[in-house]
């Protein structure tokens, strides 16, 4: 019973979602299922919040390694919640101010780190250690050169070659990945819907 009920729910929900894709008349059932998921996901936000508090309170209580960061997390979490509940989240309110003046710049800071990481990753990836890496290096060099004005100034063919590399070999590779992934998605879905893959239930037969 412990296995049958989850497997039956998975089968019914999966079949409904497939059916509503091919039978427009049943779309409302699929939409209802998606709404149910949204309700469950919304309720689960509280689980996440409780877990966050639990983990950090536990760290402070037992003086776990690096516990000094936990009060900062709890303080940030509490201030955002309190200001949001008591003052609202409209523009001009404390919550909105903290979001736009603190959260957004901190997110942008993390995102900007990407530029440095791209440089370090490119340095490793483009080392001409063998013929394939050399080919990659050359392709990347042409693509980068073709995307800046100086490329076209050196030769008008460079932007064209750059575009060809992106639109033909690169796109073909991307499509191959997508087709393979789509087949994987179909097979995974079939395994889950028909209960062939049940490791997520403990793997019992």
């Amino acid at each position: 019973m412990r296995l049958v009920i989850p497997l039956a729910i998975t089968f019914v929900a999966g079949m409904i979602m497939i059916l509503q894709f091919f039978v427009p008349a049943t779309q409302s059932v699929g939409e209802s299922l998606q709404e149910w998921y949204m309700i469950v996901a919304s309720a689960a936000i509280f689980l996440g919040a409780i877990n966050l508090l639990n983990v950090h309170v536990h760290k402070i209580r037992f003086k776990a390694p690096n516990w000094k960061y936990s009060p900062v997390t709890i303080a940030g979490f509490s201030v955002m919640i309190i200001t949001g509940i008591f003052f609202g989240i409209e523009p001009g309110k404390p919550f909105d101010y903290m979001f736009t003046q603190m959260m957004v710049p901190m997110g942008a800071t993390m995102f900007s780190l990407l530029a440095f990481f791209v440089a370090s990753a490119a340095f490793r990836a483009f080392r001409a250690s063998n013929w394939r890496a050399t080919l990659l290096l050359l392709s990347a060099f042409i693509v980068m050169l073709g995307r800046v004005p100086i490329g076209g100034m050196i030769s008008p063919k460079i932007p064209l070659i750059s575009e060809w590399i992106m639109q033909v070999p690169n796109l073909a590779g991307q499509r191959a990945v997508m087709i393979g992934a789509a087949m994987g998605m179909v097979a995974t879905s079939l395994r889950m819907i028909f209960g062939i893959e049940r490791s997520y239930l403990g793997g019992a037969d």
Binding site: P24, A41, L113, G180, S199, G202
Partner: protein, 402 residues
Amino acid sequence: MVKMLFVLPLLIFASVTFAQCVGCPEEELDVGCESSEPCGDCFIQSLVAEDASNDAGGGIDLSWTIAVDVAIPDSMVLERLDSGGVWSPITTLQPADGRKTDSGLENGQQYSYRIVPFYGGIAEPASEAVSAVPSKQWIHTGRIWMLVILTLISIVVFYFIEQGKRGKELYIRRIAGLTAVEDAVGRATEMGRPVLYIPGIMDMDDIQTIASMVILGRVAMKTAEYGSPLLVPTCRSVVMSVAQEIVKESYIQVGRPDAYKRESINYITDDQFGYAAGVDGIMVRQKPAAIFMLGTFYAESLILAETGRSVGAIQIAGTAMPSQIPFFIAACDYTLIGEELFAASAYLSKEPKLLGSLRGQDMAKLFFMVIIVIGVLSATLGEAWAPAMKVADFLKQITSVE
């Protein structure tokens, strides 16, 4: 100037008509202002109403053609005849729209429409009134071929699952990234450091996250066997709940329920870069010996992978996001590309029926490879020989989805 001479009498005529209509009662307005005949010098030449195709009902598609030799109206109002026999405006249209779908209607009931063009805020005679009855469809005609192909793929997958169950030996190619899972967990055990598992940043309604959760179960069995701590920071609450259950089940299955620590699988934040910052912090502070990044990743992929590399962890990544795969290849030791992510669970389990589904998946891919080769050849030959182009068109039709 010439335009002005043309528009001015039109405006005068429209003003007179409008004034007459304003002056008459509603019923008279309805009858007197409706243009029941196709209008020769009207902007709207032909208005067509039909039941919206491939929908769950409640929709009517309206399309119209415009006169090229008539001045373009400033705006147009789409009107619907309500139950009281009065034309009610339902939306404003732009002259160049060409089509509009009216939705939220009752199935089986007839609805009538007309379009009223406005010049300088003055209504011109309306287009011919047209009617249609909305209804729901039982089969999506644009997806029939997809249904056929999906059925064929399913048959092939089930055939090979059956073959696997019967014990037939199926060749599955070696996937280096998955072979390295055991080594990675073993390394973490030897070094006395934790294993970090990152399930991507999407929720449980994403198939890659589902695949990642199944792999997490397998990895958790290994960490339970080896006695390595397992950390799973999540970006979504639902993913956290599912991960906790899956890891718990895995620990119970290998007989180590005592080693399971619920707080090791924790929620960080829904914010993409907040999550990246949190996980980076875990990497730098706890210095995991093995990092798994399996699931859906976006711009944070390289931030995570490069930080993981900087702490000296062995990294196994996998995603079906084509734009993130190069970053993982550059920064990680092993990368599962696209389909390999979905094959991972079956590969790690080595269960014959799951391996059979992998074989079926490969056969389905072969089918599409054949279709692509035939399509490319026939499209190329079709430039010189028309029947070949018909084959290309047919293949394009059966592989396109609305």
